[in-house]
Symmetry: C2
DNA sequence: CGGAACTGATGACAAGTGTCATTGTGATGC
DNA sequence: GCATCACAATGACACTTGTCATCAGTTCCG
């Protein structure tokens, strides 16, 4: 009764969180084909998925990272905190060491990339439900070699917004800072990232998953 | 024998093109569940898909737009040119009138968004195979109201590269133009798009599918 | 043929951006 | 208690960017 492994008579109960409808439906279909997996429900955002986890207490939660309302990383943290029996498998497009690190810190048991073959998904779900860790091997090795985000909170915030086209003056106004201060933060960020202007700096930071 | 509609004994033959493995596999699974649809193969880029179309002459080609090697729009054009019997259904993330217009111009019969429910896919495939047009209704109405790309080739090229962080000087050098000319193109693009700087202009153009 | 549109250039000015040195505050940590 | 760091500011300087008027060659269309 209190065994944590799945027996043949006991299906692996899964909840899905993925914001893109087509993929959400297709993944549900894919997992439902497996005889040892049962999809309890699939949801387009973190909040709904969290409620479903509260209600169904699934063995495994499969979740995307970038979703509206509540991100997959936030969701992972909440689930680990409230329902630690539920194992979390992250399924994302982004091969960014930054995301992987944050996912593991939040308590995820697996990190699978969307450009892996679809056959790996059911397998990953099984492994995670058994208590094993499943992390993309290429990414796992990068996490140690990868430098970590050198930006401070303020630098990150300002760089993100500057990278979307907000001008120094607009940023200063909306953050109640002087223009000089804003330019100082940007200058710091640019030099930390080895860029030659705010646009390139924002691009670099985005690619590393730091924004 | 020469009837173009599918009878009950004749499955709809489908080829899939989608660069993200997980989605590709999941979509294939989703379509294979349908008893009247047969997935002949699925491919990660336009070139391989084109070869598959040449070989199998499917009723329907379901393709993404943004793919390496050959984009879905280019693929659509080639297929319509070489194998006009094969109907093309575009399946994409992007609700951009610009993409829809280009897709229809290239000869696509359908345009379905990835954030539509997965149940609609099989239905869209059936409709398209019957010769019907399937276009997202919201998007279809936007296409008429939507303004078309006001940028010239040069403006577009320069704006794209500027939006990735290249400076005026770098652009001038690599395009063999004077810096003044580069700034003129950017200034024109910025004013045409109603932006207040190159970053915002690039963002606007990207969102409309013009870059 | 003449006009329109695209491309490319120049010069000048205003505005915005990136850099640096320097100063100060508060919080965290050994 | 003193060092370190994030946060915030100032002033000054050089450089980049955005704007505008203006000109000229090419191509294409009616």
């Amino acid at each position: 009764m209190k065994s944590s492994t799945q027996t043949l008579t006991q299906k692996i109960r899964v909840v899905l969180a993925e914001d893109q409808s087509m993929l959400r439906g297709a993944l549900a279909a894919l997992l439902s084909i497996e005889t040892d997996i049962e999809v309890l429900g699939s949801f387009p955002n973190g909040e709904q998925a969290l409620q479903a986890v509260a209600k169904h207490r699934p063995h495994v939660l499969v979740t995307d990272i970038e979703m509206p309302m509540m991100s997959g990383l936030e969701l992972t943290g909440r689930v680990k905190e409230l329902y630690p029996e539920t194992r979390v498998l992250i399924l994302t497009t982004f091969a960014r060491p930054g995301y992987l690190r944050r996912a593991l810190e939040a308590g995820a048991c697996g990190y699978l990339l969307k450009d892996r073959p679809s056959e790996e998904l059911a397998d990953a779900v099984r492994q995670v439900s058994r208590g094993a860790r499943v992390v993309d091997p290429q990414l796992a090795s990068e996490i140690w070699s990868a430098e970590k985000d050198p930006l401070t909170d303020r630098e990150r915030l300002i760089l993100r917004r500057a990278g979307e086209g907000e001008t120094t003056a607009e940023l200063a106004r909306s953050l109640r800072l002087s223009e000089g201060t804003v330019r100082n933060y940007l200058s710091e960020a640019i030099s930390k990232l080895g860029a030659s202007n705010r646009i390139e700096a924002a691009r670099i930071a985005r690619n590393k998953g730091w924004l």
